[in-house]
C-alpha cells in the first residue's frame, strides 16, 4: 500500500503531562483512518501537530514522501491538509460565503466564491445557501459550512475532530456518504472519535491512543466494540445498570411553557409540556441550540415563566426565582461549567456555597459558616472522586471532567426532589461519565425525579426511562425509551434538515 502521510515518533510534553509519547502511524491515499481514544488520550495534540498548531518536541512527519513540518495552519493548508474542528469557528452575524472566505488563504471575489460553494456543496450532497446568515443555521448546517470551506481547498488529507457529536443520526448517515465519496476520489480522512460503532462502520483502519501512546492499530470492522473499548480504556468498562423503573407520583409538571429566546441567536420555547415522576429519569435529546439553554433557564428559575407553567409537587413555581425553587428541592446543573455552574476564580469551598447554602444550612443569621461549607466541599470531593489538591483550589484549576463531577455532585448531595442536568458528561472521560450516569441512576432509585438534557443519544438511552426530543424549541411527546431505534429517534429530532433530497439528486448517492 502506498502511503500519503506518516508520523514517526511524535512526542510532545506539556508541564506535568506527556500528551504524545512516540506516536507513529501512517495513512494511505483515500484511506479513512480513525484516531480512537478517551478524552485526554492525546488525539487533539496529535492532530494539532499535523495541522501546524503544535510543534512536536521530537519526531518527524512526511506527506507525499517528503518531510512535512508545517510552521502554522496556513502552511499545512498549502500542503493539502485541512481540518474541521469540533468547535466551529464561524461568525454568527456573517453569511455562509463570507465565513468561508474568511477561512481561506486567497479567497476569490464573493460572487465567484458563492457559485463555487453551491457547486461543491451540490457535488458532495451538502446543500448550503451561500447567502444565509450563519446565526440562523442548525449545528449540522454549520458543520457543512466548515466542510465545504475545507473542500474548496482541494485537500489531500482531511482531519475531522469529533464531527458527529452535534448531528442527528440521519445527518450522520449523510456525512458518512460524503466522506466515503471523498475517500473514493482519493482524499484521505483522519477521523477522530470515541464513538466505536461509527468507527466500525466508517473506517478502514484505526490507531488507538491511550495516555498519549499508540496502544494498537487494527481494522475496526474486524474487532468488536467491546474489544475496541477495552483497548481504549485499558480495562473493561462497567456500564451503569438501569433498574426497572416504577415511577411514583408526578413531581415536576410543565404545561404549555413558552419563552422568548435567551439571546439574539437563541431559540424560542414553544408550548413545552412534560411531567416527571418520582424515581423516573426523563431524557430530553436534541442538537444543541434547539432550546436547551432556554429550557434549563426556565426550570432553574433564571428566566421566570408564566404563572402555572411549572408546578413542583402541585405548587405553582412558574414565577419564582432560583432561591425559592432550590428551597423547594428543584436543583439544576447547567451545561456551561465555568462561569455558570461555577465561578472560575473562586475556591471549591466557595463554589459549594454557591448553590448549597440553603439546603446544607451553610449560613446562620446571614453569616456564612465557612467550616461547614468546607466540610460540604470535602464531602463532594470524596464522594465523587474529584481529583484536586483540596477545597481551596480555584474552580478554573480543575480539568473539565473533574469540575463536572464536582458541580453534579454538589447538586446530588443536596438530596433534590427534582434534578435537571444539561449535558452532564460533555467533555468528560469515559470513566467519569460512567460515574456521573451511575450517580443519576442512584438518585432516581432513591425516589428523586431526574431530567437529563443531552446531545449524546447513547447516554440518554443508557439512563432514561422515557425519551422526548427538543427540536426548534418544541418538545415531542415523551415515549418509553425501551425499544426505541436510532432511526425513530432521528426522526423525532427533526430528521436531517432537508439533506435526504439533496443526496438523492447527487451523482454518487
Amino acid at each position: 500500500m502506498t502511503t500519503l502521510f506518516t508520523a514517526d515518533g511524535l512526542t510532545k510534553a506539556y508541564p506535568g503531562v506527556v500528551a504524545n509519547d512516540d506516536v507513529s502511524f501512517s495513512v494511505g491515499p483515500g484511506e479513512i483512518h480513525a484516531l480512537l481514544g478517551e478524552n485526554g488520550a492525546g488525539k487533539s495534540t496529535l492532530v494539532k501537530t499535523i495541522f501546524g498548531l503544535v510543534k512536536p518536541d521530537r519526531g518527524a512527519m512526511t506527506l507525499h514522501g517528503a518531510p512535512f513540518a508545517p510552521a502554522d495552519p496556513s502552511a499545512a493548508r498549502r500542503a493539502g491538509v485541512a481540518m474541521v474542528f469540533q468547535h466551529f469557528s464561524l461568525f454568527d452575524a456573517l453569511s455562509v460565503a463570507e465565513n468561508v472566505g474568511l477561512g481561506m488563504e486567497n479567497p476569490p471575489p464573493l460572487g465567484r466564491l458563492a457559485r463555487r460553494i453551491t457547486e461543491v456543496s451540490r457535488e458532495y450532497g451538502l446543500p448550503l445557501d451561500p447567502s444565509r446568515r450563519v446565526g440562523d443555521l442548525s449545528a449540522g448546517e454549520r458543520q457543512r459550512v466548515e466542510i465545504v470551506r475545507c473542500l474548496l481547498q482541494d485537500p489531500k488529507l482531511l482531519i475531522m475532530d469529533e464531527p458527529t457529536s452535534v448531528l442527528t443520526p440521519q445527518e450522520v448517515e449523510i456525512l458518512f456518504r460524503t466522506l466515503n465519496q471523498l475517500s473514493d476520489e482519493g482524499t484521505a480522512i483522519l477521523y477522530i472519535s470515541h464513538k466505536l460503532d461509527e468507527i466500525r462502520t466508517l473506517c478502514e483502519r484505526a490507531t488507538i491512543l491511550r495516555r498519549g501512546a499508540v496502544v494498537a492499530t487494527c481494522r475496526p470492522s474486524e474487532a468488536s466494540s467491546a474489544e475496541l473499548a477495552e483497548l481504549m480504556v485499558g480495562s473493561a468498562l462497567s456500564r451503569p445498570e438501569r433498574p426497572a423503573e416504577t415511577p411514583g407520583g408526578t413531581i415536576l409538571e410543565v404545561t404549555g411553557l413558552t419563552l422568548p429566546p435567551a439571546s439574539a441567536f437563541g431559540t424560542r420555547l414553544q408550548d413545552v409540556s412534560f411531567t416527571v415522576g418520582a424515581g423516573e429519569i426523563l431524557g430530553i435529546g436534541g442538537v444543541a441550540g434547539n432550546g436547551q439553554d432556554e429550557l434549563l433557564a426556565a426550570l432553574s428559575g433564571e428566566m421566570p415563566s408564566a404563572e402555572g407553567a411549572i408546578r413542583l409537587e402541585g405548587a405553582d413555581i412558574g414565577r419564582t426565582g432560583p432561591r425559592e425553587r432550590r428551597a423547594l428541592g428543584l436543583l439544576t446543573g447547567p451545561e456551561e461549567r465555568l462561569g455558570h455552574a461555577a465561578a472560575p476564580d473562586m475556591s471549591l469551598t466557595e463554589n459549594a456555597t454557591l448553590t448549597g447554602w440553603q439546603r446544607e444550612e451553610l449560613t446562620r443569621n446571614g453569616l456564612i459558616r465557612w467550616g461547614r461549607a468546607r466540610d460540604f466541599a470535602e464531602r463532594i470531593i470524596a464522594e465523587f472522586d474529584v481529583r484536586t489538591p483540596g477545597p481551596d483550589a480555584a474552580a478554573r484549576a480543575l480539568s473539565g471532567g473533574n469540575l463536572q463531577k464536582f458541580v453534579i455532585g454538589r447538586e446530588i448531595l443536596q438530596r433534590p426532589r427534582v434534578l435537571v442536568v444539561n449535558q452532564p458528561t460533555w467533555g468528560v472521560d469515559a470513566a467519569a461519565a460512567a460515574a456521573i450516569r451511575q450517580a443519576l441512576l442512584d438518585l432516581a432509585r432513591e425516589g428523586s425525579a431526574v431530567v437529563v438534557v443531552s446531545q449524546d443519544l447513547d447516554e440518554i438511552l443508557e439512563v432514561a426511562g422515557r425519551f422526548a426530543a427538543l427540536n426548534g424549541g418544541r418538545l415531542s411527546e415523551p415515549v418509553p425509551a425501551d425499544g426505541l431505534t436510532m432511526e425513530r429517534i432521528g426522526l423525532m429530532l427533526g430528521g436531517a434538515h432537508d439533506m435526504e433530497a439533496a443526496h438523492a439528486g447527487a451523482p454518487h448517492a
Binding site: 510543534k55 426565582g321 432550590r326 476564580d345 473562586m346 454557591l354 456564612i368 465557612w370 480555584a394
Partner: protein, 361 residues
C-alpha cells in the same frame, strides 16, 4: 521574548505586594519628573511623604489633617468598593456627599438654636438618608429602565452642585451673615457640631464612622452571604444569577449603601472641618475616593491604608507646593502616577512574567 502566563490561581502574595511596588515605582518616576523640573527629587519625595508627619515645623498642623482628610475618603471608598466588587459603578459619590451634607445641615439649621441632645444623632440619620436617596435615582433608573448608572450617577454630581449653590445663596443662607453666601457656622452651634474628639489628632466622629465602616465592610465581604453574593456577581454574573442573586436588588443595595456612606461623610464634613454650607463646600472627596477604593484593592483594610496614603500625598503635596515651589499640576501628575502604576503592576497578581523562548504553543 517576554510573555505573560496566566496563573492557575491569583497570587495572594502579589495581591499585597503590588501596592507597595506601585508606591516605590511612583517615587522613582515622580522623582525623575521633579528632577526634570529642576527640583531636588529626594527633597521633594521627603517633603511629600515624611515632612507632614515628622517635620518639627509643620507636623503639629499637618498631622491632624491626615485623619481629617483620610476619614471621608475611607468612609466613601468602603461603600464604593462594595459596588465596584459587584460590577456596579457608582461614580457620583461626590453628589451623594453634597446631598448628605445638605440634609444634615438642614436638620441643624431647622433646629437652631435648640440645644437638644437629639440634634446630632438626627443629623447623622438625615445625612445617610440624603446620600441614600440621591443614589436611588441612578439605582432605580437602572433597575427599571436599564439606564447606565455610571452616566446617571456622574451627571447627578453636577445637579447636586447647582443645588448646593442654590441652598448656600438661598434657604440656608446665614440671616446674620451680612448678605454673604453660606450658612451659619455649625462649629459654633454646640448641639450640631462634629468636634475633634481628642485634641490635636484630627479624630472626629466621621473618622470613627470610617473605622466602623472598615470593620463592617470587612466582615460583610468575608463572612456574610451578602458579601459573598457581591463578589460572585462581580466575578461571574451568570453564576450569581444561577445561585439566586437578584441583580436588581443587588444594584439597589450597593448604590444605596455607597450613597448612604457618602452622605454620612458629607454630613460629618459640613458639621466639622468645613463648618458651613458654602458654594464650594465639596472638594472632590467623592472622586478621590474612587482612586482610594482601587488603591486599596477594593478591600476594606486596604482602603484604610490607601486612604491614609492618599491623604498624606495631598497634605505633602500642598507642603511641597509652597515649600519647594513645585507646580500644582506636577503634584496632580504625581498622584496620577500612583494610580497608573497600581493598575499597571496589578497584572502580576493574575499573571506571571516569563522571559525567554515560548515554551508551548
Amino acid at each position: 521574548m517576554i510573555t505573560l502566563e496566566k496563573r492557575p490561581s491569583p497570587s495572594r502574595a502579589w495581591a499585597w505586594a503590588t501596592p507597595v511596588l506601585a508606591v516605590l515605582l511612583t517615587m522613582i518616576a515622580g522623582g525623575l519628573m521633579f528632577a526634570l523640573l529642576g527640583k531636588d527629587p529626594v527633597d521633594a519625595i521627603r517633603t511629600i511623604f515624611w515632612a507632614p508627619l515628622f517635620d518639627p515645623q509643620f507636623a503639629s498642623y499637618s498631622r491632624p489633617q491626615l485623619l481629617v482628610k483620610a476619614g471621608p475618603l475611607i468612609l466613601i471608598a468602603v461603600g464604593l468598593a462594595m459596588g465596584f466588587r459587584a460590577g456596579i459603578w457608582n461614580i457620583g459619590a461626590e453628589g451623594q456627599y453634597i446631598i448628605g451634607a445638605l440634609f444634615g445641615a438642614g436638620v441643624a439649621l431647622a433646629a437652631y438654636p435648640s440645644g437638644s441632645p437629639l440634634i446630632f444623632p438626627t443629623m447623622i440619620v438625615a445625612g445617610a438618608l440624603g446620600g441614600f436617596l440621591w443614589a436611588m435615582i441612578p439605582a432605580l433608573l437602572r433597575v427599571f429602565f436599564n439606564t447606565n448608572e455610571i452616566l446617571v450617577s456622574l451627571l447627578l454630581v453636577y445637579v447636586a452642585e447647582q443645588f448646593l449653590a442654590a441652598m448656600a445663596l438661598g434657604p440656608m443662607k446665614n440671616p446674620e451673615g451680612g448678605g454673604f453666601p453660606g450658612s451659619r457656622n455649625l462649629q459654633q452651634y454646640d448641639a450640631a457640631s462634629n468636634l475633634e474628639l481628642l485634641q490635636g489628632t484630627g479624630l472626629h466622629w466621621g473618622v470613627v464612622a470610617a473605622i466602623v465602616a472598615v470593620i463592617f465592610g470587612h466582615v460583610m465581604l468575608t463572612r456574610h452571604l451578602m458579601g459573598f453574593h457581591i463578589r460572585l456577581a462581580g466575578q461571574a454574573p451568570r453564576a450569581a444569577r444561577f445561585g439566586g442573586v437578584n441583580p436588581g436588588r443587588l444594584v439597589i443595595f450597593c448604590l444605596g449603601l455607597s450613597g448612604a456612606l457618602a452622605g454620612l461623610a458629607g454630613m460629618f464634613e459640613v458639621s466639622g472641618p468645613a463648618g458651613q454650607v458654602s458654594i464650594d463646600f465639596n472638594s472632590g472627596y467623592g472622586f478621590t475616593a474612587i482612586i482610594v477604593a482601587f488603591l486599596g484593592r477594593l478591600h476594606p483594610v486596604g482602603i484604610l491604608l490607601a486612604g491614609l496614603l492618599m491623604a498624606l500625598t495631598y497634605i505633602g503635596g500642598e507642603l511641597a507646593q509652597f515649600m519647594l515651589g513645585i507646580p500644582a499640576a506636577a503634584i496632580q501628575a504625581f498622584q496620577g502616577m500612583l494610580l497608573f502604576f497600581l493598575l499597571g503592576v496589578d497584572v502580576l497578581t493574575n499573571f506571571r512574567i516569563r522571559i525567554g523562548a515560548r515554551g508551548t504553543a
